[in-house]
Symmetry: D2
Subunit: 303 residues, 4 copies
């Protein structure tokens, strides 16, 4: 299953997600509370953007558990970013623990990560791959359902003429985050159509986040009418400072509110809100968060 | 803390400890039941003897969790041995997860592994090292309390004129297993004297096993009169076959009973017995197991 | 490119290939002599059969270099086998170093490893996968050309009604090794046809070995008329003992000669012979080695 | 032996040392040119300071070779720093490849890395440790000669009342870099006195660098009158931009020249100068580099 957390806002150190909060992502790697299995020890990954330095995000992947990784703890204290994605993995049985299977997955300026699984993935994999352009066909380098969903997302970007060149993608425009959300939704709908046709009736759980450095779309979704999707929370406020300290000097252009989305609440702050089931969060650095409902097929309603 | 299991008897495949039983050591790596923290994911190690091939044991150490290691699962099915030690680690806070800290530790023909901790270890470490011969002083290559206890054990072997040359150590003699037990007891007593003198009152938990290929000594011990030692069980029977299958053709000299000692019972078989608190098991391939009481200072009573 | 070595004959310890010879496979991992780049440090793998214990081979893969792996050195001394495959990898640029990309690759009772590359692999990959049965389509878990060639080999086995069940595959029959060779040749021919149709003119270098525990086929082959294939040597003699020691007691059924095939000669013994370019070695435990010529398309001549 | 490179100056991305130059540190990890063995594949480490974010440096250590580490390549592009230390390791025989043995070593706000070895280290190790304060005694967590030298350096800092608190150490003062150099020199002199007393006549090679975030001391030194020390070069100029690009916007306080010290020249730029044998470079962000001669005992002359 996995746990993840992401940040969008004025630059913060990675440690404000990964190590400092009382229920940090590292804590969730061994003591997750909102799923039956508390353990997410099959490697981790963290991606972050430093738009003033480079157009592509950094990706730090490891197959060892997050809780014992001294490099992660050290780097997290010293690196700050306005857009961060961090993930601890619980491999589904039969899925290997290796570097190619660590989230987030990256392509150009985009990142994607996932908590959940695609129902009956093995049955749809071949048809899913057949549906892709040659460029997207070569995206998967490992064996996870998530990376194959990511290939569909890349396919959607390329079909839509989206600028996958990282330099372009971080140019802000009014439709940006909504466009990301539409591409993610379309990807999910394509995958679910295959599951419906070829699957074995197993439900899909799709808490999925995508980012391009200044915009994020993230959904909380499942196809089982009798089950809740995996947990997902949004924090939204003027300042996100879990340890009550203010380390970073702000630059003039570092305004805007802080947004954190996390599988489990990182702190006891009452401002954390549950994301509604089967809905999509649309986040932009300089706008209020929007919540869009999704229908049974993963399509955005009212968008 | 950690979990461990060991085997002495007619050759069995490693998988009969590590993967096949319903509560195998791999299961204990993520779902231990007899300690409050179920997780032992900070690397693992397995040592085994193949006396017909080589006098030193094989040592396979990894810093990744046991549960996801495909090489471990594969090797365990294909390798058989009459004497096996297997360990999954839960590093104490501040102790690194790295190869030098994986159990079992080896020296010549001997192996040692441990579940527990030495109370106030950081306070006694310098004096412990000072007490060692030059040869034993160079034994520790990592930073665990266990490896320092092992250095004391090697020191005891060398002081006592024990044959540390592996070829010699596997020669059976009547006193062998008892002699191993005496050396282990003497090592514990030396360490506890330092803890008493320099420690901060923290208790020591010392479930420790040593082997030389045909003999094993293993104790269940702590210094806290108000706490039970960590759990430890003994299985002893004509045949140990957790999955009810008989894979191995026996050779004529493969008689003798099977003995398994494990932090938690590997199976539901009613023959598993709890090892009494503060006592030492003395195991020899061709004799019945003996249990010797230990006093508060770790000394063998009646031996 | 990579280096590999394999053994078929009376059981020997793994170390007789991996560590003991003066030009052991570990030495070839950092000081290969018959290719311009001496370094093969992108992980390693060793597979071996223990037919008396289990029908599938053991597979030990690591992404760290062979030369520094203490577990490899330790295990190699203590494990013996009648059929061994060992490989040190030099990843082609752009190909990841991760566990899923380590050789040898295994399926049921079969192993395959490779030194070389498929010319223009990225261009043929999609069509290669399309040509596979569903079962073979799911064989690749990583991104190497070799694992895709292995999927074609599995496809050939399944098409030909070969017993991929490991228990069956190790039953000896007169045609066994030749049948393995035919399947390997057919796989190569299929891949080369795609290279011819879709490639960019880049040559293919295919030193490939397959085994089922009692039989081996291994070819030395390339498609460039102006280049020699990668080096490959055969040792064949009554006894293979690189260090001049005889460790293993023979059982009565351990007769037959020792056969070693290696990218570079492991020792200075004058009995090492170069395998002729574009030919296939056919090895059976209880028969003399045969050499079959291959034509430009990878087909066996006179077989 | 190893190769290393360090940077002090206006912030640059890590990639300007590690990946971009034609003879980058990653290239030196497999194709070093100024030592007989081109291979430095036994893990790597990179430490960097971000004084605006945190007072301690980040430390990223891995036991896999630098050349295949995708996280290193990704992070290097996206992270910038005014003070960087990067190291690729070639373990001396018998010294383990594990995380505790990766350079640079860190303590508070200080980093140290080393290319070379302490002659007869195993003979002096016990006495070296005996000479340390309790705090410095607990510095080594691994088994390298370098980490033991680092413990002596920490001992010197503590004896001298140096502020080891990272917040304090980065406060600039006029004597800072020279004081660092004196401490390093004193540490070397202490170690060499033990080598002289207890060693076996083997020479010591000590190219050693220390940093505190705004100051660096680095020496090129050996004790063998008939051998040159390991190679070491200094680049010093207004701007260090190996790829001819200017990525980083400068802040007003980012003045000062760029200083790079490297085991091998990273580029063909004619401004690289060989550091004189047996001398110490003293580098300060806002002053010209100084070169101080060292005598046979490692003492600074004229300082």
């Amino acid at each position: 299953m996995c746990r993840f957390t992401l940040y969008l806002g004025p630059p913060v150190r990675l440690s404000t997600l990964v190590t400092e909060p009382e229920h940090s992502l590292i804590r969730q790697s061994y003591q997750a509370e909102e799923r039956s299995e508390p353990l997410n020890g099959d490697g981790f990954g963290i991606g972050w953007y430093s738009p003033r330095l480079w157009s592509e995000p950094a990706l730090f992947h490891q197959i060892t558990p997050a809780w014992s990784n001294r490099s992660l703890q050290s780097i997290a204290k010293v690196v700050a970013s306005p857009c961060i994605m961090a993930h601890v993995r619980a491999a589904t049985p039969g899925s290997d623990v290796n570097l190619a299977n660590c989230h987030p997955f990256g392509y150009g300026g985009y990142l994607l990560m996932h908590n959940g699984h695609v129902g009956g993935f093995r049955r749809i994999r071949r048809r899913l791959l057949e549906s892709l352009s040659d460029e997207a066909f070569n995206v998967p380098r490992g064996s996870t359902d998530t990376e194959h969903l990511f290939a569909v997302f890349v396919d959607e970007l390329l079909r839509g003429g989206c600028p996958v060149d990282p330099g372009a993608s971080v140019e802000a425009d009014g439709q940006g985050a909504l466009e990301l959300a539409r591409r993610l939704s379309a990807s999910i709908t394509r995958v679910l159509a295959l599951v419906e046709e070829l699957g074995d009736g197993e439900s899909s759980f799709l808490n999925v986040a995508v980012a391009d450095g200044s915009r994020v779309a993230v959904c909380r979704f499942d196809t089982d009418p009798e089950e809740q999707p995996e947990s997902l929370y949004l924090f939204h406020g003027e300042m996100y400072e879990p340890a009550g300290r203010r380390f970073l000097e702000r630059r003039q252009d570092d305004d805007g509110e802080a947004m954190v989305v996390s599988s489990e609440r990182l702190t006891g702050d009452p401002r954390w809100m549950a994301v509604p089931p089967n809905s999509m969060l649309v986040l932009d650095r300089h706008a209020a968060p929007r919540v869009l409902p999704m229908d049974d097929l993963g399509r955005l309603v009212d968008a």
